[in-house]
Amino acid sequence: MKKSLLSTGLLTAFMMSCVFVQASTPNQTTNSQTATLSPLQEKMLNAIDNYTSLEGTYHVMQKPINVDETVSFSIKEGPSAGSYAKHVDNRDGSIVEQTSDSNYVMSNNHKLNEFRKAKIDKSTFAKITTPRSFKNNKGEPVYVYRQDPAWATSVNEVAFPQTYAFWLNDPTTYSIVDHEQYLGRDATVIQGKMDPYIGQKHDATDYKIWVDSATGVLLKLVETNASGEVTNLIEVNSLKVDQPVDSSKFSVNAPAGEADKSMKN
């Protein structure tokens, strides 16, 4: 009897604690309108957990913002995380490189002959355990992004495609049409209708996306407008997963002879 009364009290107190520990700040969170994410979305939203290293090259063309680049990258997750990315503009050959050793991130713009280096605040690395997508108490959508310790931010569109994962929030707008072999890997192929806000920005009405089924990495994205013209394209041309990488590429030593345009206090 005594034991059961104790248990009742503990249960009551536990239920009360559930009310108090719900994360809630004004206008920011609600527990009533959380988006249900598909397994593929979960994989894309946490892609950095699904590989220890990633190396590859891809072509990105985005007509509305005049981007046409060939990108090569190298990423290492886990202990001693770091990254390197090289963006070559296909129109004039100009080069921007971004490197990170997980403590600092440095961008070198060789065309402007300048660099910027910033310290990374590591309090932002924690894995997110709360809902990744929901509506706040104003009814506004909220998308929760996770930051990568390797800080490969300039190649997140391929290596950590959270943005595109959120495109899949509304299952009525897309369908999984196939599984294909892409660069020797199984790819989940999705076709969908563009979100109106993104569609206006991207000059596109439809998209087709290939996602690496094992890691959630983006392999290919083709966006077309109402005329069937390709307006945006991301196409991975080579990919190595979980192979040894050269960590010396992740150096954030300031380059000689380039102007320092880093933020100052």
Binding site: M16, V96, I120, S123, V142
Partner: protein, 170 residues
């Protein structure tokens, strides 16, 4: 005996509750907000006191947006806002940006507290709404900075950045 048993249970339970990780304080959000993309001057900024923070927003009869840099000492490379917190204790703050305009196209908008970067977001492909970017530590004054152009691209100049609204809370 019965009451004592329940009371003991409640006491243990409540004590456990107190020891659990506490939720983020429901502090007032600090934000810059307006609904127009027309650029304006810093003289249009007003300061409004809220219980925890002072925040800045553009006055109601002016058009403007959060791409206004309050300070001019960043050589045009960064948009920079400052929010006095009234606290000298280092505190972790969260940051989200509200995107609702198709002119926000920075593929690698990097946000910082002071000189420490806390997160990056692809504003060209991010959906409209509140985008939680990350968290960082600051104290007396939160210095929020965002690079004024997409430095990760080989063509950095002229790419729109910033956001319609910036939220900071702890």
């Amino acid at each position: 005996m019965k009451m004592k048993g329940i009371s003991t249970g409640l006491f243990i339970g409540l004590l456990s509750t107190a020891l659990l990780a506490q939720p983020a304080l429901a502090s007032t959000n600090v934000f810059i907000d307006n609904d127009s993309t027309t650029y304006t001057t810093t003289s249009d900024m007003v300061t409004t006191n809220s219980p925890a923070f002072t925040y800045r927003t553009v006055s109601s009869d002016k058009n403007g947006d959060s791409r206004i840099s309050v300070f001019t000492d960043d050589k045009g490379y960064f948009y920079h806002w400052e929010f006095p917190t009234g606290s000298s204790i280092p505190t972790t703050y969260n940051l989200s940006v509200y995107l609702n305009d198709t002119s926000f196209t920075n593929k690698s908008a990097q946000y910082s507290f002071g000189v420490s970067t806390i997160g990056s977001i692809n504003q060209y492909s991010a959906l409209a709404g509140n985008n939680w970017i990350g968290s960082g530590t600051d104290w007396d004054t939160i210095h929020v900075k965002v690079e004024s152009y997409d430095y990760a691209s080989a063509h950095p100049a002229g790419t729109k950045t910033g956001a319609d609204q910036i939220n900071i809370w702890n």
